[in-house]
Subunit: 279 residues, 2 copies
């Protein structure tokens, strides 16, 4: 919907290609405008995000598009670009996990299913002036203005999912809000990365400067040990550690809802596993 | 999505305009092809659907589009058109309420929120050969083939809503399936229409031959009596009887999940109300 609403014949935008979601976004955007891919880490298996001196944003770009956190590869922009161009950002996997300056963004969107609620509802934060930019002749349902003008009730909205998002937001507030969540997420990730860095047995997929606080992707000395690791972890209640099939290995997803105690337990399990299964 | 997938430059389709949903569908379809509106009951406040001799479908139409049941006006196609052209049908408000010959349809779609489950999930039944008709250059997410090829999991689907639909389908099966549901719906609607026809006090909005088995729209002698009727009904647990703001009056929605006993109670209340509040 973003390029459909914000681009159009002759219009340009700049994209940073840091994973499968940005790659898909680029493919779709090319249907609606001229897309400049200013940076790509695809050849390094998306193991990093760029620093600002690694790309530039042409003057005629309508916006700079980035995916804030890349779940599969465990990378995340530690800070957001400082360009004068407005940012458009997919925050599906790290919204509400850390503070940010919303004023730099023209549009933020996030599928709820990581930090906000059930799959099936997407939050969009859009700058008011962008609502009138939509080219003519796009379908009504795909026009951001339609939803803004109708308080998100142009169609029957997914009421139950929205209700659950509301409950999650109340919970988040009770935890101390985004400020407390950010601190907790930093602590959780630090514990886990420290465990990985403490030994050569575990190797992080992401370059240290690009490490995600949400998804920690790592490898063991061999695929066999990885399979054994995932199997034994599942038996003691540490589920979902299998990495995405596109890069293999292991991945710990420690979203807002995942407790610090779970990370401590995982770290202990990792140390134990290494001792019992030398490379 | 339908015209986007099935039409394209120079292609034509025929639409029957029997209510707000068909009207909206026509507006969107015009973005993607040449639309022939073969029938409209808009001037009669959509109080009827056409019989087959009231419209014709040109030979060069890709499909004939209709909305099976019109919730606001309480009209419903009692039978489906027999044209050789494939039918494309919005069954959002009466799917699973009666038997039908699926083979006549190229595409059936239905938002779940009436007879199938929670808002936020839509069921699409599409003929296999139509999957390859999509013009180039439409966004991947809006292409039916994408979803068919990926078992409806191209994106993270609304899992909870789909789970609830599954539970509703199990319930439906236990009730005796669509056959039993159709019989029950006919009985429920017959009870209510008999009550309306038994007196001049209540007047049905829809012409008798177009009456819906799902939504029964009717009027009382005055808007004041209607307001009083709705208020008193709510007090005895008969909720949601207010008609849609576009036509006013009263409306009883008696979808699959609404029990026969509820209809009996409503009929008794109607008789009582008329006695106590003569026109």
């Amino acid at each position: 919907m973003i390029p459909m609403n914000l681009l159009g014949a002759g219009k340009k935008a700049t994209y940073l290609n840091t994973g499968v979601w940005s790659k898909k976004a680029i493919k779709e955007a090319r249907l609606f405008g001229e897309i400049n891919v200013a940076y790509s880490s695809e050849e390094q298996k998306f193991n990093r995000v760029p620093t600002e001196d690694e790309y530039s944003v042409p003057e005629d770009s309508e916006y700079l598009y980035l995916v804030s956190n890349n779940t599969i590869y465990g990378t995340q922009f530690p800070t957001f670009p400082t360009t004068d161009k407005m940012l458009v950002c997919d925050m599906s996997s790290d919204i509400l996990s850390r503070r940010l300056d919303v004023s730099k963004f023209g549009l933020i969107f996030a599928g709820a299913q990581k930090n906000m609620g059930p799959a099936g509802v997407t939050v969009v934060i859009i700058r008011d002036d962008l609502l009138d930019r939509t080219p003519e002749k796009i379908p009504t349902m795909l026009c951001y203005k339609t939803h803004a003008d109708n308080d998100s009730m142009f169609n029957t909205p997914p009421c139950f999912s929205i209700y659950v998002v509301g409950e999650v937001l109340k919970w988040l507030k009770k935890q101390g809000g985004v400020v407390a969540m950010e601190k907790r997420n930093q602590e959780k990730a630090a514990l886990l990365y420290a465990a990985i860095d403490a030994t050569d047995y575990y190797r992080g997929h992401a370059e240290p400067a690009s490490r995600s606080l949400m998804n920690i992707s790592f490898n063991l000395p061999s695929p066999e040990l990885e399979a054994q690791f995932i199997g034994e972890a599942t038996k003691v209640g540490l589920n979902g550690l299998k990495g995405h099939r596109s890069i293999g290995g292991c991945r710990a997803s420690i979203y807002n809802a995942f407790p610090r105690e779970g990370v401590v337990k995982l770290v202990e399990f990792m140390q134990e596993f290494e001792k019992n299964n030398p490379a």
